[in-house]
């Protein structure tokens, strides 16, 4: 169905075409355009398209039958490829046997295991929790893979057929690439058969169409969800094994991130339609092949080819037809945010400030450095709180914004070495936020999340390395504040903490303001917000500007803490990892960002001081990732859950877990010797989240929970109703009618409405 060509859409198309033409003319390599060279282009494009198609198919099958967009698809395939390597190279199994074991035995079991252990329980979770859980899985797999298969020793997968191939248009199409094309076509035929000719396939399609109805007809979610994950895992493994020989040595990170390149293909299929996904893969393959055949990127834009799939994704997303206003409330009924009273803010700020002033001079070395980085990271994440926590916009590229603040802090320092420089960095980044919001205004939900990952990818690989920005590393001097140069780390730490506390107070004020209410309203119901006269576009643009301002200041603090600036400070995976920590500790709180920053720093300190070898290097990534998986049961984030829990029970499990976290942090900060510190920290920080999660699970799954009496604000009854009906396999319970209210409210209600419900209960 074609959509009307609105002026705005037409203008967008003209700009996009002009930009592409400009790039093409500017970078024309001079290869003559002949039948032969075009033929070569297609021959190169097909295997690339095949890889994209297989990966994107995995994404689409899982998303359309379970509602979970699997950001870990690349990592799952990566593990499959490493297993294949182990079987083939390390254990010297015959190739076909190794292939069979990894693709037909390991991959399905792995997919099924993931579904049973984690994914099935996420079906009713909020979008951000789903995203963060698969992201956490991805990072955890990445960390474990690096620990098991030492990245410093070679792991190369040979081509399936060592040599030879077919010569077409004067180029050799290797057997490997032919097999890739064949595998993609075979998968398409197999899925076509499965979805249209088998009972199971029909069930999967029925669930996509209407989950409620499907359930009524006795279709079991568990079975189809398991099958979807098996298919997804197999797709991922096949794609990884096929692409791996082309990449040379196996790199866990490269294989994991490869999935980002397939997003564009899946987006063409609107994440649901397989034929369109194949078309998207083909187009993407042709674009990539076109650029490598006819274009040559030198100088500033040498990195452009690696960013092409991400740019393609943004273009696809911008032209994706979407309704102007989303009708239907978010399924999430959890109150993600907790708004502290000013008294709490004051007391907490005083405690943090005094603790910093007292502890600061006692610390030095790595611990001090990481602590400063932790606070700076906290500020960056603070900027994400209004965006993710209140407006409910899943923007996953904190460093994409903070990087501009970091660059400006260095650039402005000779002229504006103090507070003004930092503020200007914030303001300019706010402008960047406004620009970044332009595509974001049209996108929402999952598409925004994907678009933001593409934005992060482009920022890190293309924009930040530009000569005008951060091509090389530079030294950054400590700032001058009120005539004082903050040379001592302790004074900088106090300064950074004051900045954090001021901004956090500002964020609390924002939430309590009219604008804060407006933000939450747009999150809770877009349609209702629009129908009371709220301009959604304007509201979203403003929140992006605010996020940019705070993140920019955070970026400036980050490089001033480390006293140098480099693209390496802003890695794509690192950005995803800190977002993950933020969601784990409370995306709607003003304490969550600081705790998330401290957690990241704590793991960095542990691995720098006590752990050596692969485990130490990857702990920073694995720790938050594991905690993210515990999030399944802590929907609002660890900090608010633990605080609420501690209020109800004198010494609950979760409070003890909180104690362990604090103990762990103390152990690290004061450098308790050896294993005592490690034990405290690891048990406290990682398992604490899981323990608290188990507690939350017990509560929400027990029948008592339906009449949870003490805290009507903590977990709304509807959440427990949903949890209970999720177990029963019903997608959307009849909200409202089955809802219970506590007695006080009921009495008030009766008084208010002059009715009596005494007999009803």
């Amino acid at each position: 169905m074609m959509r009307a060509l609105t002026p705005r859409r037409a203008a967008g198309a003209v700009v996009a075409v002009a930009a592409v033409l400009w790039v093409v003319i500017h970078s024309w390599a001079g290869t003559p355009v002949t039948g032969n060279s075009i033929g070569q282009l297609v021959i190169f494009a097909l295997p690339i398209a095949g890889i994209y198609a297989v990966q994107a198919t995995g994404l689409v099958v899982v998303y359309s039958s379970t509602g979970i967009f699997n950001l870990a698809q690349g990592s799952i395939g990566m593990v499959g490829a490493f297993v294949y390597w182990t079987l083939l190279v390390q254990w010297h199994l015959p190739e076909l046997l190794a292939l069979f074991l990894s693709v037909c035995v390991f991959a399905p079991l792995f997919g099924l295991l993931l579904d049973v252990l984690i994914m099935r329980r996420l079906a009713q979770a909020a979008l951000i929790a789903k995203l963060v859980a698969t992201l956490g899985l991805s990072l955890a797999l990445l960390g474990f893979a690096n620990a098991i298969w030492n990245p410093n020793s070679p792991h190369a997968i040979p081509n399936l057929v060592a040599t030879g191939g077919v010569t077409v248009f004067g180029v050799v199409l290797t057997w490997q690439r032919l097999i890739t094309i064949g595998a993609a076509l075979g998968l398409a035929l197999a899925l076509r058969w499965l979805l249209y000719r088998t009972r199971t396939g029909m069930s999967m399609r029925a669930i996509v169409d209407n989950a409620d109805l499907a359930t009524l007809y006795g279709i079991r979610h568990a079975r189809t969800s398991g099958l979807a994950w098996i298919l997804g895992s197999v797709c991922a493994t096949v794609a990884s094994i096929l692409i791996a020989p082309e990449l040379g040595n196996l790199s866990a990170q490269t294989l994991s991130l490869l999935i980002i390149d397939s997003f564009a293909a899946a987006a063409v299929g609107r994440l649901r339609n397989l034929p369109l996904t194949y078309l998207g893969a083909l187009l993407l393959g042709l674009v990539v092949s076109f650029s490598s055949t006819f274009l040559q990127f030198g100088g500033n834009w040498a990195q452009l080819p690696t960013a092409i799939p991400s740019i393609a994704l943004l273009v696809v997303l911008l032209f994706l037809p979407e309704p102007t206003v989303h009708l239907g409330r978010a399924l999430r009924t959890y109150r993600m945010e907790s708004v502290p009273s000013w008294r709490t803010v004051g007391i907490a700020s005083a405690i943090v400030l005094v603790a910093t002033a007292v502890a600061g001079p006692l610390l030095s070395g790595t611990v001090m450095l990481q602590l400063m980085v932790a606070v700076a990271t906290g500020v960056i994440l603070l900027g994400m709180v209004p965006l993710l926590g209140w407006a409910g916009l899943p923007f996953l590229a904190p460093y994409g914004l903070a990087g501009f603040g970091a660059w400006l802090a260095w650039k402005l320092q000779p002229d504006l070495p103090g507070l003004v420089g930092i503020l200007v960095a914030g303001l300019v980044t706010a402008a960047v936020g406004a620009i970044a919001s332009i595509p974001a205004l049209r996108l929402r939900g999952l598409y925004l999340a994907l678009g933001s990952i593409a934005f992060a990818n482009i920022a890190v690989n293309l924009i930040f390395p530009l000569p005008a920005l951060l091509e090389a590393d530079h030294a950054v001097a400590p700032p001058d504040i009120l005539g004082l140069t903050l040379r001592s780390p302790a004074s900088f730490l106090v300064f950074a903490v004051i900045v954090y506390l001021l901004l956090a107070s500002g964020v609390v004020w924002l939430r309590k303001s009219r604008f804060g209410r407006r933000l939450v309203a747009t999150r809770d119901s877009e349609a209702a917000a629009a129908c009371v006269g709220i301009n959604l576009v304007e509201t979203r643009a403003i929140v992006f500007v605010i996020a940019g301002f705070i993140a920019g200041i955070g970026g400036a603090l980050l490089v001033e803490a480390q006293q140098f600036v480099s693209v390496d400070q802003l890695p794509l995976i690192g950005g995803l990892s800190i977002i993950l920590s933020l969601v784990v500790f409370g995306v709607g709180t003003t304490s969550g960002p600081l705790v998330a920053g401290l957690m990241t720093a704590a793991f960095a300190v542990i691995s720098a001081n006590w752990l050596h070898g692969n485990w130490g290097e990857t702990l920073t990534v694995v720790g938050p990732a594991l905690a993210a998986l515990g999030l399944i049961n802590l929907p609002r984030g660890a900090v608010p859950e633990i605080v609420a829990d501690a209020r109800d029970h004198p010494l609950p499990l979760a409070a003890r877990a909180a104690g362990l976290v604090i103990g762990g942090l103390v152990g690290i900060l004061f450098q308790l010797p050896g294993w005592v510190g490690i034990a405290l920290a690891v048990v406290g920080a990682v398992l604490g989240g899981v323990l608290a999660g188990l507690l939350a699970e017990r509560r929400s799954h027990s029948l008592d929970a339906l009449a949870w009496p003490d805290r009507p604000d903590a977990i709304p009854p509807s959440a427990t109703v949903q949890a209970a009906s999720a177990d029963a396999g019903i997608d959307r319970p009849d909200l409202g009618l089955s809802r219970d209210i506590d007695d006080l409210t009921r009495a008030q209600l009766e008084a208010a409405l002059g009715i009596s419900t005494a007999g009803v209960r």
Binding site: C531, V532, G533, L753
Partner: protein, 254 residues
């Protein structure tokens, strides 16, 4: 309650829908629907499920773009305006599937709307508007409750209060009585009559026949996307098409 500016038509027509059609691909949701609502008039819209009632509401509110046709408010063509601009021109609505701001309190739900209204109506004090509406709809005792924790009927009242906070001249009510007890429905009917007496125009979709027939000045029936009958409640109830459509259903008899 609201100052009504006369449209160019000058005949007191607040809402005028003419020739509106919505098609999704080959599927016709509504076809050449025309209707109008005068100032202070309550107009009822009935019809079986899937007749296109909610689609028509979405077209008027700006959430659904019509394939063809024009919507006018106070004589002004608003067919191409986004929903928030239509709200600022005086269209308020409630939703069949509730669209409350679930994590906000009852008071905040109303306040958000009143504060939004201040953007185009500088004279009002949002706090005062909120207070008056909470008192008027007897929501004052529940004002600090989080809306998600309330039963459906109360949530509908919150939606109504929120819509009224914008001081609309046209109110679109989508099954506002469903989920209400008979006492609550009576209270609601009395309230709507009061509002209409103050000059508010109401377009009402309802399955509760006694409720809609008792309240509406005129009733239209929509079936398969087409308006089949328009008239007074008595005329519509006597119409054979209506009786055929509702045959076997108890409501048609009453």
């Amino acid at each position: 309650m609201t100052t009504v500016t006369q449209g160019p038509a000058g005949d007191g027509t607040v809402l005028e829908v003419s020739g509106v059609s919505v098609r999704f691909g080959g599927l016709v949701a509504i076809e050449s629907v025309s209707l109008s609502v005068l100032r202070g008039q309550i107009v009822g819209l009935i019809g079986p499920n899937g007749a296109g009632k909610t689609t028509l509401f979405n077209v008027i509110a700006g959430i659904q773009r019509p394939t063809s046709g024009i919507v006018r408010i106070g004589g002004r063509d608003i067919s191409r305006l986004p929903p928030y601009k239509r709200a600022r021109l005086g269209i308020g609505r409630t939703f069949q599937r509730l669209e409350v701001f679930g994590t906000l309190t009852v008071r905040e739900n109303v306040q958000v709307a009143a504060e939004a209204r201040r953007r185009w109506d500088r004279r009002i004090k949002p706090e005062q508007v909120t207070r008056e509406l909470l008192d008027r709809l007897h929501l004052d005792l529940l004002e600090d409750a989080t809306v998600d924790s309330l039963p459906t009927g109360t949530q509908r009242l919150v939606e109504l209060a929120r819509a009224l906070a914008c001081a609309p001249r046209l109110l679109l009510l989508d099954e506002v009585a469903s989920g209400l007890s008979s006492y609550e429905a009576e209270t609601m009917a009395a309230l709507l009559r009061e509002l209409a007496d103050d000059g508010l125009s109401v377009l009402l979709v309802e399955h509760d026949m006694p409720f809609i027939m008792g309240l509406s000045e005129r009733v239209s029936m929509l079936d398969h996307g087409v308006i089949v009958v328009t008239g007074t409640p008595a005329e519509v109830q006597a119409n054979p098409d209506v009786q055929a459509a509702y045959l076997g259903s108890r409501e048609a008899v009453s």
